[in-house]
């Protein structure tokens, strides 16, 4: 028998959403297949690559190894929720300007890790950026363009107070 569907309440990108999925679904599966938020990616199946990274109560979290019930009632921000109606998050814009997203598949997870870094540090060093992104594998860029984009976004956020 297929397992019973459970209703889980998530605060996703500022919206209170109820999603009905079987209890053994991960947060990633619920976001992608339950709520249609396909920005967060599945790369490795089990927490080795970071493509599925979302912010759970502000902390970068591997949604592919987070049981959906663990996310019940928590504040989730995915890549779709980083920007606002007025425009993209400075990170998102700078990633574009610097060519930091080539294939773009690791990008949503990297952006979430970077956004958490910039939320706690307005002027991170290159070393701090490397450390903050060390759980997100990128296969295209060699990381250089990513660092440059994060630094540019940080500068922009400082300038804008």
């Amino acid at each position: 028998m297929p397992p019973a569907t459970e209703i889980v309440t998530l605060m996703v990108n500022g919206d209170r959403r109820e999603v009905g999925v079987p209890g053994h679904y991960t947060l990633l599966e619920a976001l992608r297949y339950g709520l249609g938020l396909t920005g967060s990616k599945q790369g490795c199946d089990k927490g080795d690559c970071g493509a599925c990274t979302v912010l759970m109560d502000g902390e970068p979290t591997l949604s592919c190894i987070t049981p959906i019930r663990e996310a019940d009632g928590r504040r989730i921000v995915t890549v779709e929720g980083l920007g606002t109606a007025r425009g993209p998050h400075p990170l998102q814009d700078e990633f574009d300007l610097h060519g930091a997203a080539q294939c773009g598949f690791c990008t949503p997870g990297i952006l979430c890790s970077a956004a958490a870094l910039l939320a706690r540090s307005t002027n991170p060093s290159r070393e701090e950026i490397r450390e903050a992104l060390s759980g997100n594998l990128c296969r295209c860029t060699g990381y250089t363009k990513i660092y440059e984009a994060v630094e540019a976004a940080a500068a922009r956020m400082r300038d804008n107070g």
Binding site: P2, P22, R32, Y33, G36, L37, T38, G39, S40, K41, Q42, G43, C44, D45, K46, D48, C49, A51, T78, V79, E80, L82, G83, P88, L91, Q92, D93, F95, D96, L97, H98, G99, A100, A101, Q102, C103, G104, F105, C106, T107, P108, L111, I129, R130, E131, L133, S134, G135, N136, L137, C138, R139, C140, T141, G142, Y143, T144, K145, I146
Partner: protein, 813 residues
């Protein structure tokens, strides 16, 4: 006369990618992001044996499981396929024999993935295990007493040999004999795999009447399936097949789907969503694409299959392990005289691109250095492991490693600085290689100058303290191949371009965007030629139903070929616009400039109108505005010998790297501090994207140099042919903490035939990373690393040996 940088408005300047914000906002759609109404989920059952006969398959229990809608086995698709038309040796699902652990045997479609997984457990396959060939040595030694990996084509031949190529140019033995200095070395390049972060994914849709737009309406589930596998689903005489796939080669997929599934190609449509990385790992058809198509035909419902990461490692088609022996001779001044290579390629279970790989293993070595005589003898061997194929720098990364280390050894023997050694052997521009490849533009010397200067080479080589060192290497690579994979005389790349009274430009492009930026390249061309802002250009792409044929994203062909096609189309439109405006103003068409969203009169640029008004005039004059552009390669510029066409390219890129390393002699850890990458890309159409390709390439080479290895257990360790650790935990690709600082130095030689002078940038810059690091390790501690990867245990073992031999020291100047 080549245009200078300032003559361009878009070309040569940093630009956004047209899909850049879509990607960074999470709106970009990849294959697994697509969900069709009524869609089923498929899974593939795989062989646990490296080599076995399939005695029987019983799918009845799986078919009886609630939620299962269809099961297919090899008998449903008994036609072989293969990317190279001469070596079709794979079935979509194994027919009677499995050849590696992970070979597909059966596939199911069910209401969800969990049900499909349960169904796989219910399929009973009876195997008769056969002796396996885990490595090329055992495979070459085979005498036919047990079945070869593939049956021999002729009696008495070793069926384990995919291809043998022997070529000789010039008097190799004579010149070797008269060489004052000869260096001989044995090298091993371990296999590596592409590891795109996106796993392969495909969706199949079958529309029985061939006219409905989508899979809505009443699904026509095929009720005739009786589990025997004899039924191949609905008649293929009508109906339309659509496959979405994370592929680099929609066109070849289109052809093979039609052929294998016996559907008229006019009724097959392949849609390529954005692709989450490929690197050669998605450049031929895979089992999942045939399975989703067949299961969709059988069930009448759309079917999706998404590989697990483990399956990506089994699909593989990555870098071949190469066993190489090189003899290189030069004169006392360091001038190369003769090169002699013997190579065995460990091919895995299927041919894949192997025929080409075997040629490439020798053909692509003949620049950037002049060599009067060259011979290579390459043999590709089947083994019972996942098939190897093309990975970024297809077939030439391995010999380049060996050759550039040989160059380093020769330089030391003749007492030359290794940068100078490379300089004096420079082949030059507008010349032919010893194997008769036509070289046009060549900025290799400028590349050498750039890395020498930027790295501070003169102050570092042999001068850094023990444990620290620098190394240099060079390379060349093709900008596409002059001959397509299947013989034909049609264009290799094409676009259709439309402009209309709204002022926008629509480009229909069949090229494969895999992250490299080719969709943006056509947009830059359109904006440059038609003078419109980038945001007025739309690129419609990746759909064989409405885009002209482009052969795919492989062999670094796209910018060169697509760029030329786009320029041709855009210029046709520009001429129409110029003519219409010229008539309006009563001036000469050549005096009408299109730039910055304006049409201007060159003698007096105050006289102007918007491009929208200009397009209106053109549409009024010529009617609906559209233009085609296409590109085909030169066909008369290769050597007149069998195989002479392989390696022939319209233009070659050139690269030089300097790597600086620090070696921990206690542990064997090699810390690559920095890699300086100079690359002659002809012209950088968008320097940001070119740098991205250079850095990504150098990173990938670094990764292969230090950590990556696609390896397998042996009989002493579990089971021969079983992947050592098919996960992103055990197959280690570098993290941000491991990757060295990378500095890109763009060199622009302005190629006479490239679009605005551009050549490739996506694969060439990978090659020198590996030998540059090997040569830097030698400079640091006097230890030669002739086997890959330079993992800490391997380096430590060489250091131990050198310590024992008393050679662990800074090499002499």
């Amino acid at each position: 006369m080549a245009k200078s940088q300032s003559d361009f408005h878009f070309i040569g300047k940093p630009q956004r990618k047209i899909e850049g914000l879509e990607k960074s906002s999470g709106r970009a759609l990849y294959a697994d992001d697509i969900r069709l109404p009524g869609m089923l989920h498929g899974k593939i059952l795989r062989s646990p044996y490296p080599h076995a006969r399939i005695v029987s398959i019983d799918t009845s229990a799986a078919e009886a499981l609630e939620g299962v809608h269809g099961v297919v086995t090899g008998r449903d698709m008994p036609t072989t396929y293969g990317i190279i038309p001469w070596t079709p040796d794979e079935y979509p699902l194994a027919l009677d024999r499995v050849r590696y652990v992970g070979d597909g045997v059966a596939a199911v479609a069910a209401v969800d993935e969990d049900t499909a997984i349960r169904a796989l457990d219910l399929i009973r396959v009876e195997y008769e295990e056969l002796p396996a060939f885990p490595d090329p040595v055992s495979a070459l030694r085979a005498d036919g007493s047990t079945p070869y990996v593939h049956d021999a084509e002729k009696e008495g031949r070793n069926g384990n040999v995919t291809k043998h190529v022997h070529m000789e140019f010039g008097d190799v033995d004579g010149l070797m004999e008269t060489s004052e200095v000869v260096v001989e070395g044995e090298y091993f390049f371990e296999g590596t795999t592409h590891t795109p972060i996106e796993p392969h994914c495909a969706i199949g849709l079958w529309q029985p009447d061939g006219s409905r737009r989508d899979g809505l309406g009443e699904p026509t589930r095929d009720e005739r399936g009786d589990g025997t596998g004899a039924d191949s689903g609905p008649r293929t005489g009508s109906g339309k097949l659509t496959v979405w796939s994370a592929t680099q080669v929609p066109h070849y997929l289109h052809r093979e789907l039609a052929r294998v599934l016996d559907v008229d190609p006019a009724r097959v449509r392949v849609i390529q969503p954005l692709v989450g990385g490929a690197f050669g790992g998605k450049s031929e058809p895979f089992d999942l694409e045939f399975c989703v198509a067949k299961l969709a035909m059988k069930t009448g419902r759309p079917v999706k299959i998404l590989y697990t990461r483990e399956e990506v490692f089994y699909a593989h088609r990555g870098r071949h392990p190469f066993h190489m022996r090189y003899r290189t001779g030069c004169d006392t001044g360091g001038r190369l005289k003769s090169v002699d290579a013997e190579i065995v390629l460990d091919g895995g279970a299927y041919a894949s691109f192997g025929l080409v790989t075997t040629y490439y293993s020798g053909q692509l070595l003949c620049a950037p250095y002049a060599m009067p005589a060259y011979r290579f003898d390459s043999t590709r061997v089947y083994t019972n492991k996942p098939a190897c194929g093309p990975k970024r720098g297809h077939g030439s990364v391995q010999p380049r490693f060996a050759f550039e280390v040989q160059m380093d050894k020769l330089a030391e023997r003749v007492g030359l600085d290794p940068v100078d050694m490379r300089r004096i052997n420079f082949i030059g521009e507008n010349t032919r290689t010893v194997n008769e490849l036509r070289i046009t533009s060549n900025g290799f010397l400028e590349c050498l100058d750039a890395v020498e200067r930027a790295s501070g080479w003169r102050d570092k080589f042999r001068k850094l303290p023990f444990g620290r060192g620098v190394g240099v290497a060079g390379s060349t690579y093709i900008s596409g191949t002059n001959y397509p994979i299947y013989p034909n005389r049609m264009p290799q790349s094409a676009v259709q371009m439309q402009i209309d009274r709204s002022g926008r430009v629509a480009v229909f492009s069949g090229a494969s965007e895999i992250g490299q930026g080719c969709d943006s390249v056509v947009a830059y061309v359109a904006a440059e030629e038609l003078g419109v802002p980038l945001e007025h250009v739309r690129v419609y792409r990746g759909d064989t139903d409405f885009t002209p044929v482009d052969l795919g994203a492989y062999s670094s062909r796209v910018t060169f070929m697509l760029g030329n096609a786009a320029i041709q189309a855009a210029r046709k439109l520009r001429q129409m616009v110029q003519q219409a405006v010229a008539e309006e103003w009563d001036v000469k068409p050549g005096e009408v400039l299109l730039a910055g969203g304006r049409a201007m009169w060159a003698p007096d640029t105050e006289r102007q109108m918007s491009t929208r008004e200009a397009f209106n005039l053109a549409e009024a004059k010529f009617g609906t505005l559209g233009a085609r552009g296409w590109y085909d390669t030169p066909k008369d510029v290769h050597g007149d010998y069998r195989g002479g066409t392989i390696g022939a390219s319209p233009a070659y890129s050139f690269t030089a790297h300097v790597a600086e390393v620090e070696v921990d002699v206690e542990t064997g850890f090699v810390d690559v501090k920095k890699i300086w990458v100079a690359h002659d890309c002809g012209r950088a159409l968008n320097p940001v994207l070119v740098e991205g390709q250079m850095e990504g390439s150098a990173y990938m080479g670094f990764a292969e140099a230090l950590m990556e290895e696609q390896v397998f257990k042996d009989t002493d360790h579990g089971r021969a042919g079983l992947h050592d650790g098919p996960s992103l935990l055990d197959y280690r690709i570098p993290t941000s903490m491991d990757t060295p600082e990378l500095e890109s130095l763009i060199i622009e030689s302005i190629d006479p035939e490239g679009p605005y002078g551009a050549k490739e940038a996506g694969e060439g810059p990978l090659h020198p990373s590996i030998p540059a690091i090997a040569n830097a390790i030698y400079d640091a501690v006097g230890v030669r690393m002739d086997r890959l990867p330079f993992s800490p245990p391997a380096v430590w073992r060489e250091i131990q040996a050198a310590r024992g031999a008393g050679t662990l020291r800074k090499p002499p100047c």
